[in-house]
């Protein structure tokens, strides 16, 4: 699926649209940007490549005026500028599409757009322009729909149209494809290529190598807050780009075969659920079975019932007893604590505030779920036991921290995730549900976590992984199913499917034909 990008036809001798020199930004514990230089020409699609924490997002916020640099210069069309705030950036002609959208759910599309434009307030006239622009670029939108009723892909369109209405000369996209199906990614790329052909410069931030290869004319690679190189992506290989990005070979997981007996451990029967949250997704007739010794992956874009399914599996929401079974035992009516007692472990996507209490120490956070491991006796806490438990967890799972007394919030994302995963594993579960195991985690920790999950499954634990990262699912899972609009497709062995087939299902194609609201608006 990797199509080489059209040759870059920007003016080779012309003045760059944007030139950064020596941009530096220090935070108390880290230098996020250290003397960054970067050049983007008119009509150029320029990738900024780097793993989580490399400083990409900070750099983009500096360009967009949301963060101020401590040192360095920004040249815009050959003129030195100070971008004091986002409004200033917009005046200059810089638009940004955020990774976590900056949209307001209870407002309509046109109201959302109006708030970001510096012009007289006339919703009716604006609605007409929104329609015009969205049709012209193949991004159909209904201006009067409320944002909370839009799919994630449609929300991204709102953000893009919002930028386009300001006739930007530079468009920044921060990890735009993490929320899109493979097919929607192709559509987005078409739009971006068209914009580039019209002369718009594009800064494309990503850690997905094949995307960058198929879309971008040039790339700047960042690691640890510094630029480690520039490249022409079409002339590189994924491996060579990865080396520039992480400074070594991309780690690969080992996936041995399971030698035990694969009996069903976690079963979900006809699970239907109407969420309490009015903006939530209804689950409809979910059926799945995870066996001992396997990892079952659930692909799909967040917002399609992932949160609701997780809560129903973990026991954070309860329902019919028979809907969820653990080795044949109905547990659908039990709360999270009781399910854990029966051997179900759960690692949520939010580490701080859900998986761990931010201000509590790791020892106290051990008691959160591992109380049955002798950390509580007759209703009283045993601080020493909790301390020892946390200490063992830290050692066994290579958690880099200040010891069992360190507050959870003082750990990096990867290390806290190792602690939480470790804490759950040390309770010797029969089945384990893991959501977004490597979100915001650096490559080293991600590889460690993936290998840990594979090894655990091969010891006979049934593992269910819900992830937005298709590549991750293909790397660690034995079977993959797709969750779209609250319905779960069949679980298919990894060898019998591919990213394209999964992508089709993500768009809801396995469901009845009327299930594509994306086009209903046009």
């Amino acid at each position: 699926m990797s199509i080489p990008p059209p040759p870059f036809s920007g003016p080779p001798t012309g003045m760059p649209r944007l030139e950064l020199s020596g941009i530096t930004k220090r935070y108390p514990s880290v230098v996020a940007n250290d003397g960054i230089n970067l050049k983007v020409g008119p009509g150029e699609i320029h990738a900024v490549l780097g793993e989580n924490g490399a400083g990409k997002s900070t750099l983009m916020k500096i360009i967009y005026g949301a963060v101020q640099a401590d040192a360095g210069q920004i040249q815009w069309n050959g003129r030195e500028v100070v971008v004091a705030n986002p409004a200033e950036a917009r005046r200059l002609g810089i638009g940004m599409v955020f990774q976590h959208f900056s949209l307001f759910e209870t407002l309509s599309v046109v109201e959302n757009i109006a708030l970001a434009l510096d012009e007289p307030f006339d919703l009716k006239a604006l609605a007409i322009r929104v329609k015009e622009v969205s049709t012209r670029y193949g991004l159909p939108l209904d201006p009067d729909r409320l944002v909370h009723s839009l799919s994630v892909g449609e929300r991204q369109r709102v953000e893009i149209v919002r930028c386009l209405l300001q006739q930007p000369q530079l468009l920044i996209l921060d990890e735009p494809t993490s929320v899109l199906t493979p097919q929607a990614v192709q559509k987005l790329f078409e739009t971006l290529r068209r914009l580039a052909a019209e002369g718009v410069s594009i800064l494309y931030i990503s850690h997905k190598l094949h995307e960058i290869q198929s879309l971008c004319h040039s790339a700047t690679v960042m690691r640890g807050g510094k630029v480690t190189g520039t490249a022409t992506p079409s002339r590189e290989t994924p491996a060579s780009l990865a080396r520039m990005m992480i400074g070594r070979e991309l780690p690969v997981c080992e996936v041995p075969a399971y030698t035990g007996i694969a009996t069903p451990a976690l079963t979900v029967n006809r699970l239907s659920l109407v969420p309490d949250d009015p903006f939530g997704t209804r689950l409809q007739d979910i059926e799945l079975e995870v066996h001992r010794g396997e990892i079952l992956g659930i692909a799909g874009i967040s917002g399609n019932g992932q949160a609701e399914l997780l809560a129903a599996l973990s026991g954070e929401t309860t329902g019919a007893a028979e809907a969820v079974k653990l080795v044949g035992l109905p547990v659908g009516h039990l709360d999270a604590g009781r399910r854990r007692k029966h051997g179900l472990a759960f690692v949520p996507e939010e580490r701080l505030g859900r998986g761990a209490v931010p201000s509590m120490s790791l020892a106290d956070n051990a008691t959160l779920t591992a109380q049955r491991q002798g950390l509580v006796k007759k209703g009283f806490l045993r601080p020493k036991a909790a301390w020892d438990f946390a200490k063992r967890c830290i050692e066994r799972f290579d958690v880099r921290c200040g010891g069992p007394g360190a507050a959870a919030r003082s750990l990096s994302g990867g290390n806290l995730q190792k602690f939480i995963v470790g804490r759950e594993i040390m309770q010797q579960p029969i089945a384990m549900v893991v959501a977004q195991p490597t979100w915001g985690v650096d490559v080293g920790a991600a590889a460690f976590l993936r290998q840990t999950l594979i090894d655990l499954s091969r010891q006979g634990v049934a593992i269910l992984v819900i992830s937005e990262e298709l590549e991750e699912l293909f790397e660690i899972c034995d079977r993959i199913a797709v969750l779209a609009e609250g319905r779960l497709g069949p679980a298919v062995p990894k060898a019998e499917t591919n990213a394209e087939k999964i992508g089709m299902q993500m768009s809801g194609l396995f469901a009845p034909a009327d299930k594509e609201p994306a086009h209903a608006a046009a």
């Binding site: 514990s29 101020q68 709360d335 505030g353 959160l368 209703g379 507050a407 003082s410």
Partner: protein, 356 residues
């Protein structure tokens, strides 16, 4: 540009220092206030904080006032840890007093040792029930407990007014809104001749020890704390949010109810409209000032009691309105909330000039 940045680990030092700094700031502003009112601050503080403790009776009064404050605050602190804001302890105190007082009135003339214990039990039940109402409204109907507990306080005080103006009015009380004076079996007898301190202070003492063990050692208190700090984590762990609400509100209602009995069976000696000088509200400050910690609450309760005594003394010696106590209480809480910010945050170092 924000001036604060989060600390990676909460400062244990600041947690202990914060109340002391808040007290210091309150005293400083108090001095300015005294100066503005044309009083000598040194003399004023002597009247406020030294004079009340210069006699045996002063110490007795300190105990009389600290007892209910500490008792109520211990209960409230449980809820505050769980972010269940019971601000209607005053109402629970009144209902406790009504229940205990009702027993005393019904058993008037009965000379038995069990009258007083029965009153305490009745008061505890009354207060707990009055706390259970908002708990029910919250768990069943999702109604905000801050508002319901406070509304129930108004309802409790009108109920008290009705009872002492109607059914329970002392027929020989010259139409004053008050009940009969309770007989000796329905009263905590003073320990010393001419002083009001009595055995009810022991209830606060025992409760403080029990709450100290409960909060520092029990798994239930841990669950309540998690529920307050990170509700999603509590759900994730499988801790019941409903139980948190019930425990918080019933327990704090119970202690407030007992405190109510302590008043009517102690210094007040009957039911009337002045059974509490706002103990239920002041206890909120005591709980926070004491770091929601059982030992801290004892110290904070003593300080707050002194503030009450000082206010009374200032009225006499300095001709200042007694309401100055309320003013100091409010300031103290404000300063405390301000200084508490520095437990989790610190001042940002001045940013270096850009393009340096």
């Amino acid at each position: 540009m924000p001036l604060l940045e989060p600390r990676s680990t909460p400062s244990a030092q600041m947690r202990l220092l914060s109340p002391l700094i808040a007290i210091g700031l309150t005293l400083a502003v108090g001095s300015v206030l005294f100066l503005a009112l044309g009083k000598n601050p040194v003399e004023a503080f002597t009247v406020f904080f030294v004079q009340p403790l210069s006699s045996g009776n002063g110490w007795s009064e300190l105990m009389v006032k600290a007892g209910p404050l500490i008792l109520i605050a211990q209960g409230l602190a449980i809820g505050f840890r769980a972010r269940i804001y019971n601000i209607g302890a005053e109402g629970q105190l009144i209902v406790g007093a009504l229940a205990g007082g009702g027993v005393a009135i019904a058993l008037d003339g009965v000379d038995a040792w069990w009258v007083l214990p029965l009153m305490v039990v009745a008061g505890a039940i009354g207060g707990a029930l009055w706390g259970a109402v908002p708990a029910l409204l919250k768990t069943r109907f999702n109604a905000e407990e801050t508002l319901t507990t406070l509304m129930l306080t108004y309802i409790a005080s009108f109920t008290l007014s009705y009872m002492v103006n109607g059914p329970w009015r002392d027929p020989e009380g010259m139409n004053f809104p008050q009940s009969i004076m309770f007989g000796d079996p329905a009263l905590f007898s003073p320990w010393f001749e001419g002083m009001r301190v009595n055995a009810s202070i022991l209830i606060a003492a025992v409760a403080s020890i029990a709450f100290w063990i409960f909060t520092s050692r029990s798994f239930l208190a841990y669950q309540l704390t998690v529920g307050g700090l990170a509700p999603a984590a509590a759900r994730y762990a499988g801790f019941s949010a409903q139980r948190t609400v019930w425990v918080s509100l019933v327990l704090s209602g119970l202690t407030a109810g007992i405190a109510g009995v302590g008043e009517v069976a102690g210094p007040v000696g009957q039911l009337n409209l002045n059974i509490s000088p706002g103990y239920g509200f002041a206890a909120i400050i005591v709980a926070y000032l004491g770091r929601l910690n059982a030992v801290g609450i004892v110290l904070a309760g003593l300080l707050m009691a002194l503030l009450y005594l000082g206010g009374e003394a200032a009225q006499v010696a300095l001709q200042l309105p007694a309401a100055i106590t309320g003013l100091f209480q409010g300031m103290l809480l404000f300063f405390l909330l301000g200084t508490d910010v520095f437990v989790d945050y610190r001042l940002k170092p001045r940013p270096k000039p850009a393009y340096a």
